[in-house]
């Protein structure tokens, strides 16, 4: 298998990694970059646990090749906090007890981060539609939706 050097912008830093030419972004994140907050599960964009932001949009990193990400901004769950402060979504998930086993939560938060970049005041229906591709098998969706609404409110109020 042929490998090559990829130059990626991940969480605000330029990272050079060697990986298989056909490596996915997910492979590179969890492998050489050791950013294991992004989970690997279905590998077919059915579950959403591998969601990251690519140029500000939520995408499933299992279905993007690292080669498609060069010169584009990647943000993972590890890069969401700013200056040591948790992102408003992270705080709201904690406050609302929106986390059960926790496995899906990085994907949930990154999907929601993509939504909130686009819609500052989403209603329940819009949240549920945006989150439809990110599965929680503990089925704690009610609190997840409530946490996203609270985070949106806090972000609008500049908190």
């Amino acid at each position: 298998m042929s490998t090559r050097l990829f130059r990626l912008h991940v969480n605000g830093a330029v990272r050079e990694v060697e990986a298989s030419e056909s490596a996915t972004l997910l492979d590179v994140l969890r492998g050489p970059l050791a950013l294991v907050g992004t989970k690997a599960n279905c590998l077919e964009a059915e579950c959403g646990v591998c969601t990251v932001l690519l140029d500000g949009r939520a995408v499933t990193s299992c279905l993007v090749l690292a080669a498609q990400c060069e010169d584009r901004e990647v943000v993972t769950i590890e890069g969401l906090a700013e200056a040591g402060e948790p992102h408003p979504l992270q705080s709201a998930f904690l406050e609302h007890g929106a986390v059960q086993c926790g496995y899906c939560i990085p994907g949930m938060i990154m999907t929601a981060a993509g939504l909130l970049r686009e819609k500052h005041d989403p209603d329940d229906e819009e949240i549920r539609e945006a989150m439809a591709g990110t599965l929680c098998r503990c089925t704690g969706y009610g609190k997840i939706v409530a946490a996203i609404k609270a985070a949106a409110r806090n972000m609008r109020q500049g908190r």
Partner: protein, 287 residues
Amino acid sequence: MHVHRATSVRQAATMMAALGAGARFLAGGTDLLIQLRRGALACDHLIDIGRIAGLDGIAIEGDAVRIGALTLHHAVERHAGFAGPLRSLIEASRVVGGWQVRNMATIGGNVANASPAADLVPVLLSLDATVELTGADETRRLPLPQFLLGPRRTAARRDEVLTACHFVPPAGRHATAFLKAGRRKAMEISIVNVAALLAVDDAGRCRSARIALGAVGPVAFRATDAETGLQGGPLSDEAFEEAGAAAAAASTPIADVRASAVYRRHLAARLTVKTLRLCRERLQEVA
């Protein structure tokens, strides 16, 4: 496997000609990468066309609409120009995969994949769309029915890139609708999908009806018998029931893990009727 990035359509076409049968074009990748991982497809080279300039975006000039092949499903969902009579485009785009997939998956990919269950295809058929194919030396346009040859088979030559879809909505009062049946609302491959367009004259009689169905045959198709039956007549429940029966009769569904053939044929009739009713309701809105 090698991955090459093309910066122009001409370069992509030239690469494809040089690399031969073991190469595939890669755009959004949301279907291709799954097929490759499953081993359903094998290839030695991927030619990444996803960042070629000028292939992205929706342009409306006069009556003519051009949807660039790299336009994301998300962009179609949010396009204000489709919020009125062309709403079926939004309805089909927003049920493709999940939010994340729609941030990656392209309209060109949905069409060029030639899946019998592709959600945008019946809509584009109901809009009489043509596809624009660009090779190293020329660009040509083909009516969508001539482009789709069978499951995962198209009339594109090896070196041709699907670069856009074009259509001109009918003049006068018209409405569109799209409905799909699946086991859940999100993230589903369609069991049956139906797109319709109804245009009416001043008296409210049907000037033109276009009905297209997916996932009930080897390729999505226009139910021309159903359309002819509506032409010139009133938009009555009886006429819609007849159109539904004609659409089911034109269907040749298979039975698979998602649904039996009998159920698919039943849905073909019922969804056709529902889609036509939705068009009728929408015609009232713009009356």
